[in-house]
Structures are given as structure tokens and as C-alpha cells.
């Protein structure tokens, strides 16, 4: 990220001018307040309301302090509304999607960047074309494929494989991993080959350990995307006991009181927010990377 770069638009000399110092400084302070209200506000509201009695939230939605706490909201959501089960489902789905994406992106990127077969160009072109196809085009045929797979006469509805495997077909992942591999020093690969390392050894002992930064970025976005996904799991998982939190939340709303529902939503936010705060570098760099590649 850009923290280390000295600001360039406004020079230190500019900052000494009162107009700039008060104008710009004021604008930045206002922006900070605005960001706190807009970025953090709704989450804090959710956190407060998750432990506030339903009646209080309804009658005083913007009250700063609740009249009495209702910690029971969280327990009721977790146990009685089965948020615990849906939470676990979400984790299982995210883990499988992550694993599938990492396997496909690293092996594919390695083949295209390091092994470079003669058909690599064709594969590259085919991958790039998928970037230009909007996701909506895939929706219906993918669904039909899951319901009635070709050759196999067995529906994959309600199977997590129906989520894990399509998630791995991300050309974006393969391409950013390939680009990272492209920039690894070739001399090391040559040295390893001379020392007798085969392609598997080279992949496992040299390329992967050198690629932790990009694997971090891909992992963080794989897990977040899976946690956020709604439409696809809604279509392919019809059994409520298998559905992730995001799919269950709209139904939970109809079944329970506002306080318990808000508690369930708060629980659904915890993992992404905690993950973001811990791995913020990967998040923020990865997002910038996305812009760089799309550009």
C-alpha cells in the first residue's frame, strides 16, 4: 500500500500555507468523520442492536445506549435458529472453494508460466476470453449441468461439489498467479533443474514457497467471495440444513424477532470483518492488483 510514499500533490511548503493547512486539513478531518459514520456506523449499529431487546430497537432505532441488554439474542440465534449449523456450512463451503481455487490457480499458473507447453498460448487465450463473458451467461446452463450432468445420471443438487468446483473456474486467479510466477527469477529454476529437481519438486519446493504473497491474496479473496456468495448456493442447495448463512438469512428474518435476526446478521459479519482486519494488507493490495490487471 501507499503508506510509505510521501504525498506528492501537496508539498511540505504548501502545507505551511495556512489556506492549505486549514482547508485541506479540514477536508481530511471531515472525510475521516464521514468515513467513520458511513463505514463503521452501520456495523456498530448492528453490533449494538444484536444485543438490544427487540422492542427497544424498534422504538428507539437510533438510541446510542440500549435500555437493558439482551445477550440472549445471540444464544437464541446460534442455537434455536440454527445459525451455528449454517455458520459451519458456510465454513465448509468456503474451505472447499478455497482449496479448489488454490489447486487450479497454482497448477495452472505453473504450467502456463514455468513449464510453458506449446499449447500454452491457446490456453491463455481461452482463459482470457472467459474474463470477457459476463457471469450471467453461465447461470442457467451451469444450473442445468448441475441438475442433469452430462454422462453421469446423478444430480449434484445439494452437493457441495456443485459450489466448490465451479468456484475454481476463475480465470482471474490463474492469470494473477501466472503473472506472479512470470516475475520469479528464472536462474533459480535453472539451478534447481541442474541439481536434478523434476517439475513436481520445482513446483512444491521452490515455486510455491516463493509465492506466499500471491497465495495470500488469492486465498483472502477466495474465502471472502465464497462467504459473500448468495445466488449460486441458493440455486444448488435446496436443503436448508446444507445452506450457508447468506442463503438462510432472508428466511431467518421471517421466522424470528428482529433482535434475534440482527444477532444472526452480526454473527455472519464477524468472520469477514475479523479476517479483513487481520489480513488488511492482502485485501487492500489485492484490490489494487485487480485494478492493475483489469487495466
Amino acid at each position: 500500500m501507499s503508506d510509505e510514499r510521501p504525498p506528492a500533490l501537496i508539498t511540505p511548503a504548501d502545507w505551511r500555507r495556512p489556506v492549505v493547512r486549514f482547508g485541506m486539513g479540514g477536508a481530511q478531518a471531515a472525510l475521516l468523520v464521514l468515513l467513520i459514520v458511513i463505514g463503521l456506523g452501520p456495523i456498530l449499529w448492528l453490533a449494538k442492536s444484536a444485543v438490544t431487546p427487540t422492542n427497544d430497537t424498534i422504538s428507539h432505532p437510533m438510541g446510542l445506549f440500549p435500555h437493558g441488554f439482551a445477550w440472549g439474542n445471540l444464544r437464541e440465534a446460534w442455537v434455536n435458529v440454527h445459525v451455528g449449523l449454517y455458520f459451519w456450512n458456510t465454513i465448509v463451503i468456503a474451505f472447499g472453494s478455497w482449496l479448489a481455487q488454490i489447486v487450479v490457480a497454482t497448477t495452472g499458473g505453473y504450467a502456463l508460466s514455468v513449464l510453458r507447453p506449446r499449447y500454452a498460448k491457446v490456453l491463455n487465450a481461452l482463459l482470457l476470453t472467459t474474463l470477457f463473458v459476463p457471469a450471467v451467461v453461465l447461470l442457467v446452463p451451469l444450473y442445468i449441468e448441475i441438475v442433469k450432468p452430462p454422462l453421469i445420471h446423478h444430480s449434484f443438487i445439494d452437493s457441495y461439489w456443485a459450489i466448490w468446483l465451479p468456484a475454481a473456474a476463475s480465470a482471474f486467479n490463474v492469470i494473477i498467479v501466472k503473472r506472479f510466477f512470470d516475475n520469479l527469477p528464472r536462474e533459480i529454476f535453472e539451478a534447481a533443474r541442474i541439481d536434478g529437481a523434476g517439475p513436481f519438486m520445482l513446483f512444491w519446493k521452490i515455486v510455491l514457497p516463493m509465492s506466499k504473497p500471491i497465495l495470500g491474496v488469492v486465498s483472502v479473496f477466495a474465502i471472502l467471495a465464497s462467504w459473500k456468495d448468495f445466488l449460486w448456493p441458493l440455486l444448488v442447495l435446496s436443503d436448508p440444513n446444507k445452506q450457508p448463512l447468506s442463503v438462510r438469512l432472508p428466511s431467518i428474518q421471517a421466522q424470528t424477532s428482529l433482535g434475534v435476526f440482527l444477532a444472526a446478521m452480526f454473527i455472519a459479519c464477524l468472520v469477514p470483518i475479523a479476517g479483513f482486519l487481520i489480513f488488511q494488507r492482502s485485501f487492500l493490495r489485492g484490490n489494487g492488483l485487480g485494478g492493475a490487471i483489469k487495466g
Binding site: 468515513l35 479448489a100 468446483l165
Partner: protein, 318 residues
Amino acid sequence: MAISEVKVEPAVLPGERLRVRHTPLTWLRGGGLTTLLFCLPMLIVFGLFSWYPIVRTVVMSLQHTNLVQAPTWVGLDNFRAVLQDPLLPTAVKNTLYFAFLALIFGYPIPLAAAVLMSEVRKRRGLYSVLAYLPVVIPPVVAVLLWKVFYDASSLGAFNTILGWVGLGPWPWLQSAQWAMPSLVLEATWANAGGTVIIYLAALTAVNADLYEAASVDGAGLWRKVWHVTLPQLRGVLLVTMILQIIGTAQVFLEPYLFTSGGPANSTLTVLLLIYDYAFGNSLGGDYGKATALSLMLAVFLALFSLVYLRATRSWSEE
């Protein structure tokens, strides 16, 4: 094969490659099988879940399919049926309206925020974290939470705030007029952080010498932003604009969860219509119509992008 090899060979520089013949044996000895093994996960996953469905869309749009009977070829009937659907103009109009509002709300704000943030001297990281926080909230949670905020009674969260300054209560999602702007407001909140981070990354690449040169020429702050920052960012600005248009053309979650397309179809978008064709009817979907409409949307977006890139090429490469 022989002809194509003869054609290819002169292009290879003499001495660059001694072995010109590629037999299966040399392929195997050169590790071709291992390479193929490494390609295999990618080939299988993309073949099954990306390339095959893309082709299948085209086929299905020309068929009548209901998963029970064998599909029958119906030519362009699906396209005709979609184009004659009285809901299509409504959906197209609403989607364009959403995209237009999203550009008005969501395009200048992240840019202004990013320019301001890039000049922050202390705790720049805090600004980025706060701006990005809404992006990590699961979209379903964001929409359902805002749905609570948008409560149209005077006790709704937003209406309470409006009440403090003597306004409202506003109907928000319940009025055909305000439903769409309400959707866009939430979508902007949820997505603007990602754009801010992209702009921040692009701003670090702006050459500081240009600012200095502008200062030497006597340019003030605004003129530096106008004549240096914005022109330096134009490549990124053009890309984020087209990506945003492509993204908003496929908006689904907000209208689906907030309003289910209502009130009075005022938030029915193209994607919601596709969903309704395919999955809205419990008696079985009209997959032919759904694929026909998604194909038309995709072709429109591709043509639009092409025209856009052509039209802005001279400007972005200048």
C-alpha cells in the same frame, strides 16, 4: 499438418531450434505428460464449468428445454418471445436507470475521496480500512440491514435521523419513485470502497515530478488536480467506468432482496427477469427464454465495451 509445418518452419530462425520434428516420443521424453498433468485441473474445471456452459448457452437459447422432455429446436422463437415480453422494456429501462444513478452517486465520490486520502500525512491506513470495511460485509447482510434502516414508518432508522432535522418520514423502498434511488444508495455504500482502493493504488503511480513541474509553472492546488492528477488517472478512470457499467447492468441482489422487483415493477431489472424466466416459476423454468435474454445482455455488453474502448482509445493513449 505437413503443409502447416512447412509454412511455420521459415519463421523459426536458423540455429534457434535444432530439433524441428515433434514426435509423441520426444513429447513424452521432454516432460509433456507431466506438463499436461499440471494443466489437467485447469482444463477439467474450466472445460466443465466455463467453456462448456458458454457454448451451451448459445445452444439452449435456440431450444425449448424443460429438463423433462428431450430439448427441441425452436430457432429464434425464444428471442422473439423475450422481445415481445411487455416486461422487457420496463426491465431495460430500470437497469439503465440503476446504472445511471450508480454512475452519478458512485463515480465521482470515490475519486474525490481517494485524492483527498492520498494526501493524508498521518494514519493513511486507517482511512483505507474504514473506506473498505463495507466491501467485506456480506452483501446479503448489507442489503437486509439497510432494509431495516429503510423502514418507512417514522420509527425507521433513517426516518428517525431525518426527523431530527424536521424531514420525512420518507417512504424509501415502498414508493415506486424512491425505491430505485434507495437501492443505488445501498449499492454505492457497499461497493465504493473497492473503487477507492483502486484509485489510491493508481495515485501512487503518478509521477511526482509532474506536480513539481506544475508548481514551478505556478499552478495552484485545483489546477494540479485538474491538469496532472486527473489526466494521469484517465486510464484507470476509463476502466473503472466500463467495469462499473458492466457490473450494474447485471445487478440482481439488491432488487431481489430489497423489493423483489416492486413496487409496481419499478425495480425489476434485466437479471431479475432472467431469474424469473428460469427459476421464478415453481412449475418449471423457461430456460430457453432465460438463456436467450442473458445472451442478448452479454452481446449488448460486449458491443458496448467495444464501442466504448474504440471511442475512448485516442483519449486514453494520448
